[in-house]
């Protein structure tokens, strides 16, 4: 069975269309970033996040409505609490988040205990007969301001350092131009995904940072396989113009690109669909990343190499240099 047999899709010819699409996505992402900003999670901003299950043992007790909970917290000194319903409707599971507004205004170290006592005092029927620590609390995170801002710096640093190390590796293995263009494609992926998170208001958690780095690793993987082929084809087809050689390489690697992206996407999708609430956003980011990363490896990085070689008139040199090495 073969999906792509001797294809000859003129990827290079249509690269301008890809540029336009990417530009639109990037601009949309940037608008999202600047207009709405990122919704940093408690991990980065400091504050308290508590997930509590308030399903009463006694089934005759009316389930708690989200507004009731909101009012109770509001009247007890937490008007800024964000409350979300989690999981299936019949489960009274709620995520309560209280973020510190600024880095200095620390949410009191006792906030989590206070919230729990507010809940037990105001909803006695719903927690009756259940162990608070075992059954009611699903998870609680409390993050101090120092750790939060440190983590944010570290997260941004991590993504940047990973990108720089990759430029160096590709520079060493191929050529600086290839490295820079591969990273341009990566930056393209990261901006679009982060932009989508900004536009949808999804939270940037530590897990999302991990997802971004995985995507960076994955997308560069795709790009390198294609670059590798270009290098090899440049050696064999010395007489042909760069555009054609690159287009040929893209077609040769197409089936591998699609199959690998496909299997990775399948596992990421299965994580998204069956992996549970905790991993949901992580899996969502990976799915997006696989799709965008594959697209950018095929359309963006190689096309940028072509256009920049033309622009800098270094066509011959690039070809010579690459075919000269190994």
């Amino acid at each position: 069975m073969r999906l792509f047999n001797n294809t000859n899709i003129p990827f290079v010819k249509y690269r301008k269309i890809a540029y336009v699409i990417s530009l639109i996505l990037i601009v949309a992402g940037l608008i999202g970033l600047f207009a709405r900003g990122l919704n940093w999670s408690i991990d980065f901003t400091s504050g308290v996040a508590a997930k509590v299950n308030l399903t009463a043992l006694d089934s005759s007790v009316e389930p708690i409505q989200i507004d009731e909970l909101r009012n109770v917290l509001k009247n007890n000194g937490y008007p800024e609490a964000e409350i979300q319903h989690v999981g299936p409707v019949q489960d009274a599971s709620f995520m309560i988040k209280i973020k510190s507004e600024t880095a200095d205004a620390e949410v009191s170290g006792n906030a989590k205990n206070e919230i729990l006592s507010i809940i037990t005092e105001n909803f006695p029927k719903h927690v009756e007969g259940r162990d608070i620590n075992q059954d009611v609390i699903e998870e609680i995170y409390e993050v101090g301001p120092k750790v939060g801002s440190e983590l944010r710096t570290n997260a941004i640093l991590a993504v940047v350092i990973a990108l720089i190390l990759m430029i160096i590796y590709i520079w060493f293995r191929f050529e600086l131009l290839f490295g820079l263009m591969a990273i341009a494609a990566l930056a393209h992926d990261v901006i679009i995904i982060v932009g989508i998170f900004a536009l949808t208001g999804k939270e940037i958690t530590i897990q999302i940072i991990a997802a971004l780095l995985t995507i960076v690793g994955y997308s560069i993987n795709d790009t390198i396989v294609i670059f590798d082929r270009i290098r090899e084809d440049l050696k064999i087809r010395r007489k042909e113009p760069l555009d054609e050689v690159i287009n040929f390489s893209l077609n040769e690697t197409l089936s591998r690109t699609v199959i690998t992206s496909g299997t990775t996407l399948i596992t990421a999708l299965s994580l998204y669909l069956f992996g549970g609430i905790v991993l949901n956003d992580f899996a969502f980011a990976i799915c997006l990343g696989v799709i965008i990363g594959t697209y950018s490896s095929i359309y963006i990085s190689s096309s940028l190499v072509i256009d920049l070689t033309h622009a800098t008139k270094k066509e011959k040199r690039t070809a010579q240099k690459l075919s000269g090495r190994r």
Binding site: N53, K112, Y141, E142, G262, T263, T264, T267, G275
Partner: protein, 526 residues
């Protein structure tokens, strides 16, 4: 295999190591030295508590600071051991942070309190009633003169004035605003439950502390465990520290006999303490000088009990009695035993994960993994036929290899770790796909299976290395910058990549060489 080959040997080692570390997961009755090597689950899967503590070493020299952090770790470890947690982990993170992980802890508030204790144990003389009145009066006078610095008190004073105007009662209007928060109880002054929080805030306010005459301090008595809404006694103490935690040799919980004539210990738990030599001398002097007065045992600024000194006590033995429950007495004796923390600690972040969430995560994580694995395997089988089948075997091995290596290096499986394994499944086939696509191309060029396989591997190997090294770079950065679960993810991703490269370049290749493309075969199922 007729002749010795490194490749064959490495495959045998690979399989044996994997089997060794996975066996404890599958076979229940293995000998101890073997079954000890079992995969550990992270807190996010098992449930439990994690606290990141920050040690405040700002007042210590660099050398002392290093020692203080290590000392604190030791003390915290002792406290946790006495608290009885299975497999706690206490690690130093960076310069002055301590990460404490307590898997399976259910009473997280008690655990948190025990760890957070700064345990400043002091013995101080309690003011007599005349002194107490004098101190309170002078606090009132000072506060009245500086009412603007205490908005909460000012508000109270204004409220009082309104209320009193209506009642036209002049008699009590001379009562100072701070004194109005406390009132004489049976033995001591007491603070009503509703005012406790305000008083606590005031005691923690540096401005307010300046209002207290020099040489004295105020301290609340600890809350009554059986009746948390009860009024709390407040004491005026001499600020001189007569004895400190360092003077204590050991403390233990004892029970008073039911027939004891002392109602404070009859049938109740109390803590008996033994002083060190020097401490015993100090204690003797204090008790001799202060017969008839009371000595307060103050832990972290809270009075635990304030017994009367009836006589001079030599020998360095004393009892702390109070309305203790057994667990409170236990907690107090732990704190006394483990001594003072040299540098104060405060929690920088805390996470608590319920056991239910953890087991849900394991279930949904493995479901997702199995479904993903199944689809990928079926696809490979259809697309590459026999060669796909070999890849499928390698894939299962790879997942086993990740789990085995995680066990071998004492790592823990976290939820992001599970995600890492699942993603590895998708990416692991990549190396094989690269090779297989190459072999197909070579076959298309009319090569025989034998030379197509050789050429395919030869050409694809460089690409496989190039592509995977970059992912390894990302994983390394992730490891360096991440903590806890994210490190777990980086580790599984790394092991997964190494495993998948081994599987594709050595394992699958060997099967090809030995069984598939033997000498005369004219076709290849790929």
């Amino acid at each position: 295999m007729k002749k010795f080959s490194w490749r064959g040997l490495s495959i045998i080692i690979f399989i044996c190591v994997t089997a060794f570390y996975l066996a404890p997961l599958a076979i229940p009755n293995l000998p101890g030295w073997w079954s000890n090597h079992v995969l550990k689950l992270g807190l996010d899967l098992k449930g439990g508590m994690q606290i990141l503590l920050e040690v405040d070493t700002s007042e210590l020299s660099a050398a002392d600071a290093r020692g203080a952090v290590d000392q604190n770790i030791k003390i915290i470890r002792e406290r946790i051991d006495q608290f009885g947690v299975a497999e706690p982990s206490i690690q130093k993170l960076g310069e002055n942070r301590i990460m404490v992980q307590l898997p399976g802890v259910s009473d997280f508030q008690a655990a948190e309190n025990l760890i957070k204790q700064t345990a400043m144990l002091e013995f101080k003389v309690v003011a007599n009633p005349d002194e107490t009145r004098r101190v309170l009066d002078s606090i009132d006078a000072n506060v009245n003169a500086n009412l603007d610095r205490f908005p909460a008190l000012k508000e109270l004073a204004e409220l009082d004035r309104e209320l009193l105007e209506e009642a036209d009662d002049e008699a009590s209007s001379d009562l100072g605003i701070f004194s109005s928060l406390i009132r004489p109880g049976q033995m001591d002054y007491e603070v009503q439950f509703d005012s406790v929080r305000l008083v606590q805030e005031l005691l923690g306010n540096a401005d307010f502390v300046q209002m207290i005459p020099a040489g004295w301090q105020l301290a609340l008595e600890r809350a009554n465990a059986e009746n948390p809404r009860a009024d709390r006694p407040i004491h005026v103490l001499s600020s001189a520290v007569e004895l400190s935690g360092a003077d204590i040799a050991r403390a233990r919980v004892e029970y008073g006999s039911a027939t004891s004539t002392d109602p404070r210990i009859a049938n109740k738990p109390y803590v008996s303490i033994e002083m060190k030599r020097e401490g015993a001398r100090k204690f003797e002097r204090v008790t001799a000088d202060n017969v008839g007065r009371r000595l307060a045992i103050v832990l972290d600024g809270v009075v635990y009990s304030a017994p009367n000194i009836q006589e001079r006590i030599g020998g360095g033995r004393a009892q702390i009695t109070g309305r203790f429950t057994t667990s409170e007495a236990n907690e107090l004796s732990i704190v006394l035993n483990t001594g003072n923390l040299i540098a104060p600690i405060s929690p920088a972040s805390t996470s608590i994960i319920g056991a239910t969430l953890g087991s849900d995560s394991i279930r949904s994580g493995s479901t997702a993994g199995l479904i993903g694995l199944a689809i990928v395997m079926v696809f490979m089988l259809f697309y590459y036929k026999l060669s796909g089948l070999i890849t499928d075997f390698a894939l299962i091995f790879n997942v086993g290899f990740v789990l085995a290596m995680l066990t071998a290096f004492g790592g823990t499986l976290t939820l992001p770790g599970i995600a890492g394994i699942i993603l590895t499944i998708g990416m692991a086939v990549d190396a094989n796909v690269l090779v297989f696509e190459r072999i197909r191309e070579e076959l298309d060029h009319g090569k025989t299976p034998r030379s197509a396989v050789d050429a395919g591997y030869k050409r694809a190997t460089i690409t496989v290395w190039d592509a995977n090294i970059t992912t390894l770079i990302a994983a390394a950065v992730l490891y360096q910058f991440g903590t806890g679960p994210i490190r777990g993810f980086a580790i599984t991703l790394t092991i997964g990549i190494i495993g998948s490269m081994f599987c594709a370049l050595v394992f699958v290749r060997s099967i090809f060489d030995t069984f598939i493309v033997t000498g005369t075969k004219k076709s290849l199922s790929i």
